[in-house]
Symmetry: C2
Subunit: 168 residues, 2 copies
């Protein structure tokens, strides 16, 4: 990763452009690192684990959610996978076409659609997930245990802060 601009260079360049407006550089920096970290981890997991199984990130996440919560209704799957209902429709179409997932109407409430893994989908997850988690573990293991738990807690607070609810 060559040729990066230094943090100081960037701040100086920003000040040249924004003038004397008071900016919160610490906040900008923390969130910049947040996105970089998420992208880096996602890329690494995609390249080292998912690609060889011809699986996309979102496809894997959806499969994982349905694996753990068999028969879950689509809107809850979307919420758990952190994607919109519209996106889920397309992803499920792809996974259904590959025979990994099945859609199933609800008897009582005919608006609902429940999702289940096929046996092929289940086998895939039983093979992939341990591998996936091993790479997760490898990445996180480079942090001291105490820092991991601090990170986890702080990130949860960031979620709450961003969603505008100051939890009690």
């Amino acid at each position: 990763m060559p040729d990066h601009h230094t943090l100081e260079e960037t701040e100086r360049a920003m000040k040249d452009h924004v003038g004397n407006l008071p900016l919160d550089f610490a906040a900008a920096n923390a969130l910049s690192n947040l996105f970089r970290a998420a992208n880096a981890v996602r890329s690494e997991l995609t390249n080292r684990v998912l690609r060889k199984h011809d699986m996309t990130w979102t496809g894997f996440v959806v499969l994982w959610v349905v694996w753990i919560w068999d028969g879950m209704e689509t809107r809850h799957v979307a919420e758990s996978a952190d994607i919109s209902k519209a996106t889920l429709t397309g992803v499920v179409r792809t996974l259904e076409g590959r025979g990994m997932i099945a859609r199933e109407g609800d008897e009582k409430d005919r608006r609902l659609v429940r999702l289940r893994l096929t046996s092929e989908g289940t086998e895939l997850m039983e093979r992939i997930y341990p591998e996936f988690n091993a790479v997760e573990s490898e990445i996180i293991s480079q942090l001291a245990e105490r820092r991991v738990s601090t990170l986890t807690k702080t990130l949860r607070d960031v979620v709450n802060a961003a969603e505008g609810q100051n939890s009690p």
Copy 2:
């Protein structure tokens, strides 16, 4: 945000599916929170700041990079914005169509394309970025100052860990 499954419930359900394989729940949890936090912050900034200016997340990031580093070559812009060259091509096409950005060939090396903001693009950034940073600040301000600097450092280490380089 109703109807969430508890962390304990999820772990129990996972154990039911993965059997006796040894999983690193702490790592899975930390990274799950990482993606949730990134998505939540991105959504909040998009909804509260960018949408009213008809600007996408990636479009804004690219515009910001070019604003700070005027005349930067496209591959460096892509790297700074954390997107692929192919994606940048499409985003620049959109921004160019709206008169925000201009492409400019390099005299010396005719393979290169340099990017600059138009005056309209510059005005937009001068108007949007302070607003954007204010919301960033509002989110981060809900964390104690010490936690912010710890978070920033830890996230940088996560980036290095994911990219496979244990920096000295």
